[in-house]
Symmetry: C2
Subunit: 555 residues, 2 copies
Amino acid sequence: MKIVIVGGVAGGASAATRARRLNEDCEIVLLERGEEPSFANCGMPYYVGGEIKSRKSLLVAPIERLRQRYRLDVRNRTEVTEIDRASKSVLVRNLSTGETYTESYDKLIIATGASPFRPSIPGIESSRILELRDLKDADKMHVLATSNAKHAVVIGAGFIGMEVAENLVRRDIHVTVVQISKQILPTWDHEMVTSIEEHVRQKGVTLWLNDSPERFEEINQGSQVAVHLASGNRIDADFVVVSVGVRPESKMAADAGISCGPRGGIITSPSMQTSDPDVYAVGDVVEVKDFVTDKPTQIPLAGPANRQGRIAADHIFGRHSRYRGTQGTAIVGVFGMTAAMTGQSESQLKKSATPYEKIYIHPNDHAGYYPGAQPMTLKLLFDPVKGRILGAQGVGSSGVDKRIDVIAMAIQAGLTVYDLEQAELCYAPQYGSAKDPINMAGFVASSVLRGDHPVIHADCIMADSDSKYFILDVRTEAEFNDGHIPKAINIPLDELRNRLEELPKNHKIAAYCKVGQRGYMATRILALRGFDVCNVSGGYTSWCQRYPFDFAKSK
Amino acid sequence: MKIVIVGGVAGGASAATRARRLNEDCEIVLLERGEEPSFANCGMPYYVGGEIKSRKSLLVAPIERLRQRYRLDVRNRTEVTEIDRASKSVLVRNLSTGETYTESYDKLIIATGASPFRPSIPGIESSRILELRDLKDADKMHVLATSNAKHAVVIGAGFIGMEVAENLVRRDIHVTVVQISKQILPTWDHEMVTSIEEHVRQKGVTLWLNDSPERFEEINQGSQVAVHLASGNRIDADFVVVSVGVRPESKMAADAGISCGPRGGIITSPSMQTSDPDVYAVGDVVEVKDFVTDKPTQIPLAGPANRQGRIAADHIFGRHSRYRGTQGTAIVGVFGMTAAMTGQSESQLKKSATPYEKIYIHPNDHAGYYPGAQPMTLKLLFDPVKGRILGAQGVGSSGVDKRIDVIAMAIQAGLTVYDLEQAELCYAPQYGSAKDPINMAGFVASSVLRGDHPVIHADCIMADSDSKYFILDVRTEAEFNDGHIPKAINIPLDELRNRLEELPKNHKIAAYCKVGQRGYMATRILALRGFDVCNVSGGYTSWCQRYPFDFAKSK
């Protein structure tokens, strides 16, 4: 048996080492275009910023170890240019010598990954316009970041864009992030990241939203780049980083007649077999099944790539491993804040017209009575009838990764919001709460489904131009005076029972407080007294996150 | 409808507030023996130690708020001395005035909790021998801890004992912890806490294991207590804290003919109804069903108490909430280290003769290439045939709570170790690894079940007096020389393939490395070459945790 693997890193290297653990006799050839077949690409921004000091620590498995311990025939700086399925061979070029040769295979594993999309904008070929895919890119950015650079422009506010921005600020470089849409981190729903946008601005980053580059121009004898924007504005920078998404590197597979999906990803079976049973594909180059919707999609993530590599090797040796699909669990750290998510976002659910309900909560990461408690925002998306959890997003400075991981496991198990009510999680005051944020999310969502706790969302109130809702602020007078939803009337919760006559019967009431808890109590009191009432989910905090500009005005 | 609730805090206060949210008209009487019906008992050790500065912050819901917001008839310093089920009333004593009266109920909720067990040891009545159940106790301990006390003895090394020990050290008091068994934190399996024992000793605490007090004696005009131990030793201290477990405070219920279990806990239906349908019981006073084994047990925890309180109120108002049982998810912080667990421990499984397999891993809390990565130890217990997860324990300084919470959710969902392989969790280098510790635990356990990766455990090797096993250390020579399992032969992994002839055929081989990963690779290489081989799970690290004294000797 001879296995040829095209591309290293997460998917390819995992397939190679797994294959060796299953079989001592097979020949395993790992062909890697770059210098290193196994490096920590997720660490590169932090190497650029100096948080990771040594470049060597990015090398997960040095070539020598792969060769010796796993007896892999690793050939780096070696590119595959063509697949010949008829003869079961690939055409290979040694990038050091220029030599080309063919290499036969019994089984081929394509792990070519996804390459940064480089839009065809005039001037983009400048050597001061970088991307960040491999160590070569990281080296180049490291040089520029530690030179006398004063200003950089990052095009694209996704994961890598925001991580690069943070790390260039670590190098005392002023960063402008240009983003074509209205928000950073577009994988998350907009209202979830407005607090991060504010945080990033406070760290000195300029966010330039709703705009995009039309032309790059080298200026000052090529020592700088002028970024000309669609809006007519111009930003000058010492260098530019482009990170506007990736595209599966599947052209060679497609050219060989292997089936690819509409997004360019190679189509595989759950065992990672392509349309040619002797050819497997793993990692960012493949189309995956979305675990929640069961529909094909394209989600580049390291964990899934690792598992797919294992599965391909398993299947080659006759095992029945199957990939269950990708949930899209993701996390990003931005200047000490964390955004994490799993499952579907609201905008994805809207796009696919999937019915959903949602709730927001703003619990502390641990018991409020223990020092250092930090608030987070959790958004839970769930089926409006059965309560199956469809997705979750979290934002905060501490404890967000834990809660999203727990919900990721719940989604994997097909659990409902009722199961979150009953979750039994670690509680001591420095770690969580007796009613953990997970339980709270479950309580609130379940109450909504049971009809005990009708909720309304900020945008619905904002859109209520003909005042269908009587807006009731149940916070204290001081809180109310410090800012409130337009047109709200203030009756503090503890006075509510004695002031019921001030409320309209036969008119919808939208109650709210700071985070939703007093609003919930108000909703219960009024509902039990026959009022038509709902609670603004997540309270004034969610309203401000949804409408940060109006919030600022109201202050 | 008139609901009388005996006892506040987690179970009682949750039942009361839930009942009010379900019904505005019912009368809710909350009778609490202490000063405060709702306080954070889990925070008390940290108040004693000064980590929580203000006593006020321990008051979760002040009486006034309970009265006003929830319209509860809260009567503090009010004790219930008798239940008369025939007349549906309780006998009540006002502890301030001494007045007694009867209070009728339609539904009674018993939330009397569990009281610290106070062994009947001569001298235990001394005012310098404290326990820690309520705020009064905390106040007393706070006074002594902030006086000139120099030495304290803590009897019992469970959760509260260890938390109190840490917090007294915060007050510069030398602490001796006396524990009747051979280990601290006996809820955990022994080998999991040996590293914490070492850590605690390094923080200056004296651990006095396998011993217990036989007699207390006030000395120096009552300003100190001499603790006379069963071993004949004596320790003098300024004060003593006794925390040797709790007993459900169910006597009054039992006296009223309400059924209790053999451990003293009140028996309830899943809706928290006792043998008398008009009487409910919630919290530490009830017997619960163990979620994993389905058997009755007694587990005092705040989260379950909260949920039981809700369920009782739900059921009173005709809802069908059911308590699913208690998993025993628990966590404790000890001088910056964390021990967490969920589900069954190995010693519980042994006791009930439940078949199980186990594995140990020692992963980092986040990617090793990112600064600050800290190792943890995870132990996973699972069904040896189907792979259902039975329990997990974790110890380390960071990220332990997250992994145990994720496994707690997996246990709730009835998942197997194969599901952990496929978990898709948050990964960025500062939060986790592309192969998260959860995935690693799943990989290792699944490989064991698939027969790819036979494991052996430290105690089996230690017990192998007739050298049934050839012990193979596959670490580097330097690691080997720094300490190794007795009788081990060193062949570094990367030389293994070339030195196969040094290994015995027809003899069991136990391979090991530092944490189990190289040992696994060695196991695969040898198994594929026809050797009868297994891997020491968790490697030398687990061996040292299991045999810390021998480890120390081997240095």
